[in-house]
Subunit: 346 residues, 2 copies
């Protein structure tokens, strides 16, 4: 199944060489940031001797139209035509933004994703969601387009800082909670630092690919992947605006999963036992973040702008049980406030 969706989990140099030989691109560009330039580009560079290297600055705060202009400019100056290829080598920011730029350059050229962080391997690289942030709204401008290939190799994870591994792990936890109770038991059975990623990543990618295949443009069931993200995104966006107080994506989603699991209990979907198991495990991995007073007022405008909403209704994904999500549940501001109070009191 994964093969059909153009996702290849194997040794990167083998697969990339095979891919490039099977196509005849007029030019190749590689988009990197300073991290993937240093740690990841050397691994694939021998296959890309003539490629145009486009280096941007890392970080969600650079996932902007301004950076897109820089990328479009670089492609234009290197005289890329419609037969060119863009390779996005890096984390989710590079994949989302590089894919958006490739999909809109001369009305769309080929691109492949080589996700190099755990987060982007199990989440951003699969599903064709591309885009950039706009003002403080995450992924506000973008489109759906499947990459021509996604090449995943755990070799890239070896140079990743531990907090980045932990951030990506949040999406693996999420995939278990919404769709695979057995895998939830698997990942819990050892400390997360001991997990063998080359086993767990393919499983997690498989869950996501299956959900996306059923509903590519997020008309219904795909919204299940947003569990933890209604409140989590709001918190993440809020912290982006406070200098020096940044939360990694997975750290924010960890809070989102606990609070949205709490709402699931309040709504009568989730058992207290399941909620406790979820809260305890997630806290054991991520610890607890001290949320300042007034946070709820600060995050609500962002939550209201969430793309999943319709009108003034906040549409949330909740849990029926561990391993089973439920989509399109309208929740209220008061429920969000209560759930954050629950988190604070843990």
């Amino acid at each position: 199944m994964l093969q059909e969706k153009n996702i290849y989990i194997q040794q990167i140099t083998d697969k990339l060489e095979e891919y490039l030989q099977a196509h005849s691109y007029s030019k190749v560009a590689v988009i990197v940031d300073e991290n993937s330039y240093e740690h990841c580009l050397p691994i694939v560079k021998p296959l890309l001797a003539e490629a145009t290297i486009i280096q941007i600055q890392s970080g969600e705060e650079n996932k902007t139209l301004t950076t897109c202009e820089y990328i479009w400019n670089a492609l234009t100056e290197a005289q890329f035509d419609r037969k060119g290829l863009v390779i996005n080598l890096g984390g989710g920011v590079i994949g989302d933004m590089g894919g958006f730029c490739a999909s809109t350059y001369k009305r769309g050229i080929d691109f492949i994703q080589i996700p190099t962080t755990l987060l982007s391997q199990v989440d951003a690289s699969v599903g064709g969601k591309l885009g950039i942030d706009f003002h403080s709204f995450k992924n506000h401008i973008g489109l759906f387009r499947e990459p021509n290939a996604v090449l995943i190799d755990s070799v890239f994870l070896k140079t990743l800082p531990q907090n980045e591994i932990r951030s990506g792990f949040a999406e693996i936890i999420k995939h278990c909670l919404i769709a695979d109770g057995d895998e939830w038991q698997n990942i819990k059975s050892a400390a997360y630092q001991e997990i063998n990623w080359s086993e767990r990543v393919p499983h997690s990618v498989g869950i996501k690919a299956q959900v996306v295949a059923e509903d590519p443009e997020e008309k219904g069931w795909r919204k299940v992947l947003n569990f933890g993200h209604t409140i989590g995104h709001g918190i993440e966006s809020h912290y982006l605006t406070i200098p020096g107080k940044k939360l990694l994506h997975g750290e924010a989603i960890a809070i989102g999963m606990i609070t949205e699991a709490y709402i699931s209990l309040q709504r009568g979907y989730l058992s207290e036992e399941d909620l406790n198991e979820i809260s305890q495990y997630i806290l054991s991995v991520y610890g607890k973040v001290t949320l300042e007073d007034g946070l709820i007022d600060a995050v609500l405008p962002t939550i209201l702008q969430d793309k999943k909403n319709e009108g003034k209704t906040i549409n949330c994904t909740l849990l029926e049980s561990i391993g089973k999500g439920i989509v399109n549940i309208p929740i209220t501001k008061e429920e969000i406030a209560d759930s954050l109070a629950y988190y604070v009191a843990l």
Copy 2:
């Protein structure tokens, strides 16, 4: 056939009312410029009492990322969700740019085109090409996406200045030259000022829709629609950079059709008789533009950046006869220079 492609040529108020009643949009925005605000919006306004009006400045020089930011901002401030509708009411600039903004807002919301110029009715509104200019490159950033509906009504043409009518007429001429020799005789049979647009527009739209249906993403045959546009676009872009010396799109394409017909003759495709007929008729409608010295050096860089090219090869659409185009013919800079010399000597 037209019905299938969501193109409706009928009374605008009837069709728009029917369309809006058949859908349940959370919000509706209408994008206009100062011209369509004054002349076209009053016609549909009674049906759109609650719509958000987004007014931009007319002109190709405003088909930019900056204007897109303005439109995205307006949609965001009006809290448009994914169930919103954008109506593009105006010429090609509004259709291309408004369609691009709608297709990328929250990864894509519905939009309909109500083209109000002859040019946009017979060309831009059909075929799903969306985008904006980037630096001096026309439609350099964009994507392919079919509008949810195209509503065409000749009522809008009544307030159009004569030079705008003549500009749009160039695309009708082009459609005849590449695909319909009989229609070429029809349009030539009277002065263009006497043409009944409510008869000729549906025919011309039909030609374009048929070509697009065969090759939506311009992999091959659709390139036939670019006849006159390789050199014509270069000239148009060049004049955009000279204050006070603007050529309308059709005026530039008229030059492009004559010069590319000349190259068709030189290559042995087109007869001298056909070339003369084409040159004489087009000059009789558009007159002759005085091209300054050095024009060829100025337009070549733009022609080389044309999206239809591959590598350094300039890919051109030529004519085999009146009514029959031929695509993907590589031409040289020298041939372009010679063809411009032919035009100057006419």
